[in-house]
């Protein structure tokens, strides 16, 4: 666009100059209407437009200049220089009053526009990206100095000559044009001569000084070169180092022969990452001839190691192809810097780790976070924590890890035992409790099992710190660095501090979590206890209550916790319970109390209270014994009442017994007396009035007597039965065998001549009441005797058998027997199974036997068949004697 416009202007310029034809561009692009209405259409000089176009082109070119594209920059600078020169010329035209210079035959360029162009183009020359021209003019070279003097000088000559021409000579109207021109030419020549002399002198001085300085500095440089304080190299832009002092050779490890052979190439010696820095420096040297400031870079020594240096160069020739450079070995400084940086990082890491212990709420988190901070803030490759296990292999269990390669630790299989896998830094550290530092793992022999993997992972140095509780080492913190010779004293000290803090915090957290767990366990135990449990603080505030305690309090838990006992139960301070509690608290000694508690609503409960001092205050165990006490009281009352009752009953029973005794007594006396009268007088009647009585009358009287006599027997038996229940037992050893023999002897005497075979087992000893047992035998053996009376050969046996661990006495006969379906009626008083005419009897005997046996704590029963004999069994609880 600019190009097209410029071409159009140039064409117009040529056209107008040659043909005087005005193209009237304004006219083309302005509507005719405007000029018809009298609007003035301004016209710009084509020259002005051309200058504008040039400036625009210069600016556009400058804007599009890339790094290293010098062509465009030069073009832009040239365009600006053209604008500057043309506008100067225009201004000179005004100054000299020569319209041809500024206007010619067409629209003139205004003087102010010319000045503006001069300013803008000057500004551009100095401000454009590279400002090559300006820089060249301002450079310290002799040529530049010359330029700097000549340009203002010539300008000054033009101004002075112009002023003389227009102001002085023009006033001398008398002087003709030839004179005027001659005078101007003379003046110009004089001024140029003066300027030439000044410039020549200036240049002469500059050149002289430069030459002297060069010599001087060459000498100084030589001395410096030879002093070997610093490395000095002479080099060229081809990359060669053509000369160097011994210091430099020593620094890079090359020999002078190699130098002479041209084997030292500063481009090849520069590692790739420093090439950019080199290029910038070269550019600077090319343009300015010297490095403005020394810069840092690295050379690779002959042995491949890196040499950090600081270097500054300067060009020695105008062509800027050869230069000299000064090289300073900054290895020491770099090391110090690196150490400082590491220490700084370690310090930052320590700070970062400090925060962890405060916020960590569990051990695992703490270890993990610490490892993370060590790696992130401390810029280490790997950090991990291993705990020493007390297992068979004494293995080291990784518990936390941070860093690039976790699997290194996973597959490390480290032990802390004194074996191959335990002689690494971790095992050694745990075994000895000492910090183990490996500045360079590749030189450590005992690192063998892990060496290849560590190298592969880039772990160059390592530090291992013991984690202790008291004197016991329970684990280790391992830190791996990617650089050799890491972990100097300062850094180690800081890391050790991190390790110690972590070890301490981990133990504290472990203990805390154990404590919390135990607390939880105790609490749940307390919660589930059947007794009330509560903890009261030193200010008598309820700190803890289990459900039972809350129940016992008659108040909701929310209203208890955090409040004092005095608030909850006003007036409790005066109770015995409270004073016991206070005593327990102040003496730190347990207390016990059984106490009735009166609730604010008047309810009362008895409590068994135990007070136990605890760190928080006092633990109270309360057991509600109200119900127990009530039951005990009731039982006591009942017991007392029972005794009373027994006493009453005893009295009643005694009275009844007495009454019964009196009754029996009376019966035995008074009931028999009338019978005696009946019998006696019946007999008297028979005896005294026998002749008057016929046989029938005598028979009747005989029946009266028989009846009265049998009634007497009945009365006697009844009395005996009643005596059995009343009589006190006199327990002694009784020989039933001999007793039975005596009874049978009596029976034989009563009925001599009856053939009865009697068998008694010997030694039937028992403890019991002899009199009563005799009655038993009299009755049972008497019955046997009686009911065998019809047998031609009677057989009676008395003995004992063992039945289910019990001694059972047996009386067996081969007599009449009885129908077994009546066997349960046998022992009922007055119950008879046989006719009196068949077998006499009252039916009292077996009832008496049963009473006596029962009074001895035994049982009696019978088995029989009609005419098959009968067997009577009885047991006695008395102690059987062998």
């Amino acid at each position: 666009m600019v190009l097209l416009f410029s071409v159009a202007i140039v064409l117009q310029f040529i056209l107008v100059s040659a043909t005087k034809v005005v193209l009237d561009i304004e006219g083309w692009i302005t509507p005719a209407l405007l000029s018809e209405h009298g609007y003035v259409i301004g016209r710009m000089s084509p020259l002005t437009a051309l200058l504008f176009a040039l400036l625009a082109a210069a600016m556009l070119l400058s804007a599009s200049v890339d790094n290293g594209d010098r062509g465009r920059d030069r073009l832009a600078q040239g365009a600006a220089a053209v604008v500057f020169t043309v506008s100067d010329t225009l201004l000179v035209g005004y100054w000299y009053g020569a319209p041809l210079l500024y206007g010619g035959t067409f629209t003139p360029v205004a003087a102010t526009t010319s000045i503006a162009f001069i300013l803008v183009s000057t500004a551009f020359l100095f401000e454009s990206k590279k400002a090559l021209l300006a820089r060249w003019v301002m450079s310290p070279s002799v040529f530049s100095r010359f330029t700097r003097m000549v340009i203002p000088g010539t300008m000054g000559i033009i101004l002075v000559v112009g002023w003389v021409q227009t102001s002085v000579l023009t006033r001398l109207r008398a002087v003709d044009q030839v004179l005027s021109f001659t005078l101007s030419a003379l003046l110009t020549a004089c001024l140029i001569g003066v300027l030439a002399v000044i410039v020549a002198r200036q240049v002469q001085t500059a050149v002289t000084r430069a030459e002297g300085g060069l010599r001087d500095s060459e000498q100084k440089l030589r001395r410096f070169y030879e002093s070997n304080l610093q490395g000095v190299i002479y080099w060229n832009m081809n990359g060669q180092i053509v000369d160097a002092n011994d210091k430099f050779l020593q620094m890079v490890g090359y020999s002078r022969e190699e130098l002479i052979a041209g084997k030292i190439d500063w481009v090849n010696m520069t590692p790739p990452e420093y090439r950019v820095v080199d290029e910038q420096s070269v550019l600077e040297l090319r343009t300015a001839g010297a490095n403005e400031k020394p810069f840092e870079k690295v050379y690779i020594r002959k042995d491949g190691t890196r040499l950090p240096i600081i270097i500054a160069g300067t060009m020695l020739d105008e062509a800027r192809l050869n230069g000299v450079a000064f090289v300073l070995d900054i290895t020491d400084r770099k090391q110090v810097e690196a150490r400082l940086a590491r220490a700084n990082r370690a310090l930052k890491m320590l700070n970062a780790c400090n925060g962890i212990a405060i916020h960590a709420d569990n051990e695992e988190r703490l270890l993990k976070d610490t490892c993370n901070r060590i790696v992130e803030v401390g810029e280490y490759k790997l950090a991990w924590v291993g705990y020493a296990e007390d297992d068979e292999h004494k293995s080291v269990r990784p518990v936390a890890l941070a860093g690039t390669d976790g699997d290194y630790v996973e597959h490390a299989d480290i032990s802390w035992g004194d074996n191959e896998r335990g002689r690494g830094p971790t095992g050694t550290c745990i075994r000895t409790g000492e910090i183990v530092i490996n500045r360079n793992t590749s030189t450590q022999l005992h690192y063998d099992p892990w060496h290849s993997r560590a190298t592969e992972k880039g772990y160059v140095s390592s530090a291992t710190f013991p984690l202790c509780v008291g004197d016991r080492v329970y684990g280790a913190l391992m830190v791996y660095s990617g650089i050799s010779d890491a972990f100097d004293d300062e850094e180690t000290e800081l890391l050790a501090e991190v390790a110690n803090d972590m070890a301490y915090s981990a133990v504290a957290l472990r203990e805390r979590s154990a404590r919390v767990e135990a607390e939880e366990r105790y609490r749940s135990t307390l919660d589930s206890m059947l007794e009330g449990c509560q903890i009261v603080g030193h200010d008598f505030r309820y700190l803890y209550l289990n459900d039972v305690a809350v129940q016992q309090s008659h108040i909701s838990k929310d209203h208890l916790l955090g409040r004092t006992m005095m608030e909850v139960y006003p007036g409790i301070e005066t109770t015995e319970m409270f004073s016991t509690l206070k005593r327990c608290m102040s003496n730190k000694a347990p207390g016990h109390l059984q106490n009735e508690f009166v609730y604010p609503d008047g309810a009362r409960s008895w409590f068994n209270l135990s007070f136990e001092p605890v760190p928080e205050g006092v633990f109270i165990l309360s057991e509600d014994i109200t119900e127990d006490r009530r039951l005990a009281e009731e039982a006591k009352k009942y017991h007392e009442h029972l005794e009373e009752l027994v006493e009453e009953r005893t009295i009643e029973l005694t009275a009844t017994n007495k009454e019964l005794e009196a009754f029996s007594y009376s019966v035995s006396h008074d009931l028999r007396a009338p019978l005696r009268s009946i019998d006696g007088f019946s007999l008297a009647l028979l005896e005294d009035y026998a002749p008057k009585l016929d046989d029938r009358a005598k028979d009747y009287i005989g029946r009266v007597r028989g009846a009265s006599q049998s009634m007497a027997v009945l009365i006697d038996d009844l009395l005996q039965l009643s005596r059995m229940t009343r009589r006190e037992l006199h327990i002694e050893n009784v020989d039933l065998t001999s007793m039975a023999h005596r009874v049978i002897g009596d029976l034989r005497q009563g009925e001599p001549g009856r053939p009865v075979e009697f068998t008694v087992m010997p030694n039937l000893m028992i403890s019991g009441d002899a009199n009563l047992l005799r009655i038993v035998l009299v009755n049972l053996l008497g019955n046997a005797w009686k009911f065998t009376s019809r047998k031609p050969m009677a057989r009676i046996e008395f003995g004992k058998i063992q039945k289910q661990g019990e001694t059972v006495f047996i009386v067996h006969d081969n007599g009449a027997g009885f129908d077994p379906k009546y066997s349960d009626k046998l022992f009922t008083p007055f119950q008879r199974l046989h006719n009196t005419s068949e077998f006499p009897g009252t039916g009292i005997g077996l009832a008496t036997v049963q009473r006596i046996v029962r009074r001895h704590g035994g049982r009696v029963w019978a088995e029989a068949e009609i005419n098959e004999g009968a067997t009577f069994f009885f047991t006695l609880k008395g102690i059987e004697k062998p």
């Binding site: 035995s668 006396h669 028999r672």
Partner: protein, 142 residues
Amino acid sequence: MKGRSILLVEDNPNDEVLTLRALKKNNIANQVTVARDGQEALDYLLGSENNLPIETPAVVLLDLKLPKVDGLEVLKRMRANASTKFIPVVILTSSREDSDLLNGYLNGTNSYIRKPVDFNQFVEAVKHIGLYWLIFNEVPTF
């Protein structure tokens, strides 16, 4: 068989008649004095406030169950008194209570006989009493 008298202490009139009949049947001719209660018996034996003792009997047939003063009490008083201390006493009663037997002998009775209901047996018993106490038995005299 005439001789010293017999004191029969008996409140039951039927028994009195029967006892007398039994004595008679056994030909015991001794005079029989009947005291119908204990007090009467004591009065007869020891004398009362106004009277001296009437007689010292050869034997006392003593019933136990008596109005006013019972038989045991009479026996005790007799044994406590020197004049009656050695008079043979035969307790003749319906009772066969152990306590009666025991108390009778404890208080110094010479014999204890239960009156049988069968009158023939009673007569037999009285016969033995008469024979023994009135004929064979000797007591110290004052």
